[in-house]
Symmetry: C2
Subunit: 463 residues, 2 copies
């Protein structure tokens, strides 16, 4: 078995050249229909083989009665048939030489002792034949690499290609994360939901993404860690290469209890899981919103070299909110050096405040922002910049945005842009950022949290 | 002076029958233009008197050369002239019999010793004449009461009438809160920004809003508390009547330093401020986002009677996230009574999980939601409900929304609705909630935080 496994490669799961869907359906509101529709609509680069004992043509594709009838090689097979039929179908897949099955079907360990027995049965088949399983009770995968375009998944969310990869056990949580990133205009690299995780484990996928040149940031929502020692070893290596942002469910008794009936996992010790994840160098979050917002910054901005943040603002109040939040999360907001203050005084209004936060005042225009940003970026004592910009009606905000764009894109220090505005009235201003791939944040405390996480990661990598 | 003050009434500030704008301007991008434009556009119910030594007609209104030339009573005057002219203009206002001035002009205590002297001068005039001052260095007020429609403010944000009132010192922070609530479809009752707060203090406004029947929830962003004892006494009474959600800036050294140059306030002891605010029964937040989200729930939902939350979900993972968050914030997620479980088992799929969280499964339709919600609302051991609904493509989500709407509107327990969806694809489903005035939340942890705050407030009121 070991041999069979060793020739297996995660490309079969994430870059399949052909996909069979066993349990393909003509009914639009079924998973067996939706997966094929997604593969077709998103222009999957490989071949698609629907399998169903009855239908003969489905979404313009020839349907095979059995996986064994397909006269071509099949890398990956979706299994969507009823749970009782899964062992037989899985064995046929192994016989056909399929390398990996995504078992979307539910009704296994999560439902009680009988389902657990069924799950043991399929794990045995996998071990005996070397076929690998993602699932059961899972959503599937997505790979947006234009050379692959694999939407092996029944989602409706349409991600554009990006550099964030996402692992979740729960397909529902995965859907929520994908949807939120989409809403934020952010792209996806690879997504995987492993459901009950009876065979393929989180750490194996992390390892693959660690080596994937297209993945810059990893989001990882974990309900249970099967083998903490292996996880720590693998995740520890990956998190040195690229940031891994994690969220751990089942932190409380009610949470643990719910996980047992969700994916059938028994959490042995949730506190221990927390330690394992933290020891792996994974940045821990308790909020899906914060994990998404932070991933965007890691995806597009350079890392800060140290803890010293410079805050620029055009309204005092939001600068103060940012300062409090940054400091409470371990950053420093040092007074600026006399030389820096001098340089700022030359370029700003006399009433402007040139300590840290630098308050340029609401009337500050493009030339003031340009001056302030440049001076802080060139200050060797400042490692990162949090820029709070509220769009005043008496300022040419689009011109301000263009200055920020040009300077921050050529900066080797991260510039976190908080743009507080009416999104409808100032759409052209916001478009300057989105078109340049610069993430913007709506509120000062969110920008500050994001910058603090980047600073924390820099500290972890240096250890 | 005390006498003069005592006949003064905050209706003059928040329900003025006439407003003068001293420093009115024809230039569109000035505050002196914008305030008049807002009053006109938002159909201020009183009279508007522009004052400017030059212009004679402005936005179709007759311009007076001096406040003293206006032949009618003036309740409220905006002062937008340069800071050096403010004392003279303020004295004229007092002479004219104006009751309160909003001094938008900056350049006072926040700029250093000279500005501080100027501020002392205007405070002296106020004390001598009995005229009251909001500001200086402030944004102004808004009262959306259709009988008033006072947009004494240079904002661009257009709030619809609602029941949340907002106090901030910083106009910038006020703008951000107003804008975010607008974006969430939420209405405003009254808004006030007091800037340097040289005369009118936060606690006076809180007291007024405590008695305002149109205000159901108060948001309060505080940078400094001038008189902690008075604040505690007043705010303590108001917070028993209606929830006051507070955020305190200047929690750190850098924050304190920045406040000194923002509104000129010297924070004597930020830790002490925190205690004062907490002792007042104000719910404390560190996030503008959370304060806005929580205010929406208080504005529309009944309070929970106790700590026991029932979680309903159609995807396991999000239910677990909610459970963890609720428990970590002091709520309970108890196992459901045998009788309740029995009732649920009758109405749900056999694979559904009827402990707490109740996982109805993704295929659950309107009849399952109806059953589950009704059973939990009727369970005397459950005080509140957190409903997680992800919109599956194979479910009639609009019908589900209609059921949730009908049941939750007639419930005396709060039902917090988390609706996870693609906002464009499921717009009709979301519209069911928004048209009924039911707030929805995008993510389970946000809904859970909101419910935990409501539960905490219930505990504070009972004390």
């Amino acid at each position: 078995m070991g041999d069979k496994k060793s020739i297996w490669n995660f490309d079969m799961l994430f870059r399949p050249r052909s996909v069979a869907v066993i349990g393909a359906s003509k009914k639009e509101l079924t998973i067996g229909y939706r997966i094929i529709r997604n593969l077709v609509e998103m222009r999957f680069c490989g071949r698609i083989y629907p399998v169903n004992s009855r239908a003969s043509i489905l979404q313009d594709l020839l349907v095979y009665q059995s996986i064994l009838d397909i006269p071509y090689d099949v890398d990956l097979a979706h299994i969507v048939v009823k749970s009782g039929h899964v062992p037989k179908v899985l064995s046929e897949c192994a016989e056909k030489g399929v390398k990996v099955c995504i078992i979307n079907t539910a009704g296994f360990k999560e439902t009680g002792p009988e389902g657990a027995k069924l799950e043991e049965e399929i794990v045995k088949i996998a071990h005996k034949t070397g076929i690998r399983i993602l699932g059961p009770n899972c959503q599937g995968i997505i790979n947006t690499d234009p050379e692959v375009n694999a939407y092996c998944n029944f989602t409706f969310t349409r991600q554009k290609p990006g550099c964030i990869s996402i692992f979740t056990q729960s397909g529902g949580v995965g859907e929520v994360i994908n949807n939120r990133l989409c809403e934020l205009g952010e792209g996806l690299r690879i997504y995987a939901s492993s459901g009950n995780s009876c065979d393929i484990q989180c750490h194996e996928i992390l390892k693959y993404w660690g080596d994937d040149p297209g993945t810059r940031v990893i989001i990882c929502h974990i309900e249970n860690i099967e083998d903490p020692e292996v996880f720590k070893k693998v995740a520890g290596k990956v998190s040195k290469k690229k940031p891994v942002l994690g969220m751990l469910s089942g932190r409380t008794r009610a949470g643990e209890r719910a996980i047992a009936s969700h994916t059938g996992s028994i959490i042995k010790n949730s506190l221990h899981n927390k330690t394992v994840v933290e020891d792996s160098g994974i940045l821990l979050f308790n909020s899906l919103e914060e994990i998404c917002q932070t991933a965007r910054a890691f995806a597009h901005l350079p890392l800060p070299e140290g803890k010293n943040a410079g805050i620029i603002t055009n309204t005092g109040g939001s600068g103060i909110i940012a300062a409090d939040e940054l400091i409470e999360r371990g950053c420093r907001v040092p007074k600026l050096a006399e030389q820096t203050q001098k340089a700022l005084r030359k370029g700003l209004y006399t009433e402007a405040i040139v300590s840290n936060p630098v308050d340029m005042l609401a009337t500050a225009g493009p030339e003031h922002i340009e001056k302030t940003l440049s001076v802080l970026i060139n200050d060797p004592e400042i490692d990162s910049i949090l820029l709070n910009f509220i769009t005043p009606f008496f300022v040419d905000c689009e011109a301000v945005a263009l200055k920020i764009r040009d300077i921050s894109l050529s900066s080797d220090k991260p510039v976190i842009c908080v743009v507080m505005t009416d999104k409808n009235l100032w759409e052209p201003t916001l478009r300057v950022f989105s078109q340049a791939g610069i993430p913007t944040y709506d509120l000062p405390e969110i920008g500050a949290k994001v910058l603090a996480s980047m600073t924390q990661y820099r500290g972890l990598v240096e250890k």
